[in-house]
């Protein structure tokens, strides 16, 4: 089942083009990471998917138009937009009561179970909790909702490494079950590299790269090249080259692994390194086109 299908998704704010024709297809059970710089259009894309903003182009989420059928859609879609959007005056017990009251698919026992593993007290107000605890509380509420699509927009921004690790561990162990779909944007790419099944790079409102993680691991190789073989390596047209403590690290797209292994230590690149390479490529192409 296709959970999200977008064709030519566009959004213009005045003179700023936030989304410039995005095509996207997300199947059930995938965990898609949406990676992009600040202002690249990630949040706008997510807002369109969540029916929070109007858009041009075709977009279907769980077979519905998110803008016109938002009310029905929100029974099956859940999201955490940004850290710490829980109302500060609310008590933890009130948050549980309220979500239980309005959401037909909220499993309170599950939320309580998750909370009992944290230091969060039921009678605390959100304003008394640390930022990490607020994120835990929000995650507890969201994970107890039996939704088909979960959208996370920078859910761990500003949290320390321990909370971030716990956040994604809980998500993967206690929530994800292959019939649910998760969409996540984050700047802390290293946190999510191992949980994603799919990857999409957004740059200036366009899709700069879209692939599954299997594809990613097969296509891209990063090689720490022996100095004497640098020219042979460059002849294979790396998409990016960088220097780390005097060694050249070259990133290759679709070059035979056996061949690369002869040039130096080869490994799968981090998403962050690939992102920089792909963005560098894109800006070089733009400059080329400008000339």
């Amino acid at each position: 089942m296709t959970v999200i299908e977008a064709r030519g998704l566009r959004k213009v704010y005045g003179k700023t083009i936030a989304l410039d024709g995005i095509d996207l297809r997300v199947e059930e059970g995938r965990i898609l990471g949406v990676i992009g710089l600040n202002g690249a259009g990630k949040t706008t894309a997510l807002n369109a998917i969540l029916g929070l903003t109007k858009y041009e182009g075709e977009l279907k989420v769980l077979g519905r138009n998110p803008w016109t059928e938002r009310n029905q859609l929100m029974r099956d879609v859940c999201f955490i937009a940004d850290v710490a959007v829980l109302p500060r005056w609310m008590k933890v017990s009130q948050a549980l009561d309220y979500v239980q009251g309005v959401h037909p698919r909220f499993n309170r026992a599950k939320a309580e179970g998750f909370l009992s593993r944290t230091a969060i007290k039921r009678n605390s107000r959100v304003r008394q909790l640390s930022k990490g605890m607020v994120a835990q509380l929000h995650l507890a509420l969201v994970m107890a909702i039996d939704a088909k699509l979960l959208v996370l927009d920078e859910p761990t921004l500003g949290l320390d490494i321990l909370y971030r690790k716990q956040f994604y561990d809980s998500l993967l162990n206690d929530y994800y079950d292959r019939s649910r779909t998760i969409l996540v944007t984050t700047h802390q790419v290293e946190d999510v590299q191992h949980i994603l099944t799919d990857l999409i790079f957004i740059d200036r409102g366009r899709v700069a790269l879209s692939c599954s993680m299997e594809e990613f691991e097969q296509r891209y190789q990063e090689v720490m090249v022996h100095p004497e073989q640098i020219n042979a390596a460059r002849a294979l047209k790396p998409i990016h080259e960088r220097q780390v403590i005097g060694r050249n690290i070259l990133l290759f797209d679709g070059v035979d692994r056996a061949q690369l292994a002869t040039l130096g230590e080869a490994h799968i690149p981090s998403i962050a390194d690939l992102f920089i390479a792909v963005l560098g490529q894109a800006s070089a192409e733009r400059e080329g086109a400008a000339r």
Partner: protein, 311 residues
């Protein structure tokens, strides 16, 4: 944990439809009203404070002005006013408190959630913008009037007990006092005042909710300056003040429509129901025009809540 998860049966897409439609529709509304009450405890605290202060003030004034009170009470001419004044003043003070509380509540209702970004949490739940805005409109139109009515009854009961003590202390029989203060009739009259004022002020609350959903800052200025500007422009351009008169009538008109004041030949306070003119109130076009505007303002506020982003 993961294996346990898989055991939990998957609910079908159709689950909510099994719930009777009426229950499904009112449940989010009731919970939304409840959460407004959690957030805005001034809805209770403001009238409670006024009531407590009023009763305290009444007790202090009895002790302080015992001698003048005594002379006022023994004279049948002034007795009525002396007994009645605190009751009317308490009702008026609580009614005014409700209107002011309601106005400030509305002004913040749809602005505050965007300012603290909690709107992103509320919108992540299956509660429509229609339900949310209606729940917020229920506070000044339904909840505050109910609380105010209850609070007036409690306050006046306290005043009544105190007045009984005063009457006995001044050698006036309780029968005379109770004749002067027909509580049931007074309360029916107060209920009418609360209902008519809420209906009359509905467009004001609607306007404030609309401003609250629109403004990115300075909600109070957005609420006050446009009507004020219209008054000024009208005065300069045409040297007339229809709009200003209309606004004044909007603020005070419910009373002159629903009651005939004593000075204009209304009934004596001994029979408060005789001064009621509900027929005139409900047949006044201003009421219905106002309600149409209230509906338009609310509809606009719902649309704005849908499209406006967090600040």
């Amino acid at each position: 944990m993961n294996t346990q998860m898989n055991v939990i049966p998957e609910y079908s897409l159709e689950t909510p439809e099994i719930v009777p439609a009426a229950v499904a529709a009112t449940r989010p509304l009731l919970w939304s009203v409840r959460r407004e009450l959690w957030e805005n405890n001034s809805i209770f605290i403001a009238p409670l404070t006024v009531a407590v202060l009023f009763v305290l003030g009444f007790v202090i004034s009895i002790i302080h002005e015992w001698s003048t009170l005594h002379s006022a009470l023994v004279d049948p001419q002034t007795r009525q006013t002396a007994f009645h004044f605190p009751f009317d003043a308490a009702a008026f003070a609580l009614l005014l408190t409700a209107v002011i509380t309601g106005a400030f509540y509305c002004l913040d209702a749809l602005y505050g959630e965007r300012r603290d970004r909690s709107v992103l949490f509320w919108k992540s739940l299956p509660v429509s913008d229609l339900t949310t805005v209606l729940a917020k409109a229920c506070i000044p139109l339904l909840v505050l009037p109910l609380i105010t009515f209850a609070m007036i009854i409690v306050t006046q009961t306290a005043l009544f007990l105190l007045s009984t003590a005063i009457a006995l202390g001044n050698g006036i029989s309780t029968a005379v006092l109770w004749e002067q203060l027909p509580l049931w009739k007074m309360w029916v009259s107060i209920l009418c005042a609360i209902v008519t004022s809420a209906l009359w002020y509905a467009p004001l609350y609607g306007w404030l909710l609309l401003v609250s959903s629109y403004a990115r800052r300075a909600t109070f200025l957005w609420a006050v300056l446009p009507p004020f500007a219209v008054c000024v422009v009208e005065k300069i351009a045409f040297n007339t003040s229809y709009f200003a008169d209309m606004m004044t009538f909007r603020l005070t008109g419910w009373y002159s429509q629903a009651f005939t004041p004593l000075a204009q030949g209304g009934a004596s306070p001994a029979d408060p129901l005789a001064s009621l003119t509900l027929g005139r109130f409900f047949s006044s076009p201003e009421l219905w025009i106002g309600l149409v505007f209230a509906a338009l303002f609310l509809a606009a506020a719902i649309q704005l809540r849908r499209s406006r982003e967090a600040i």
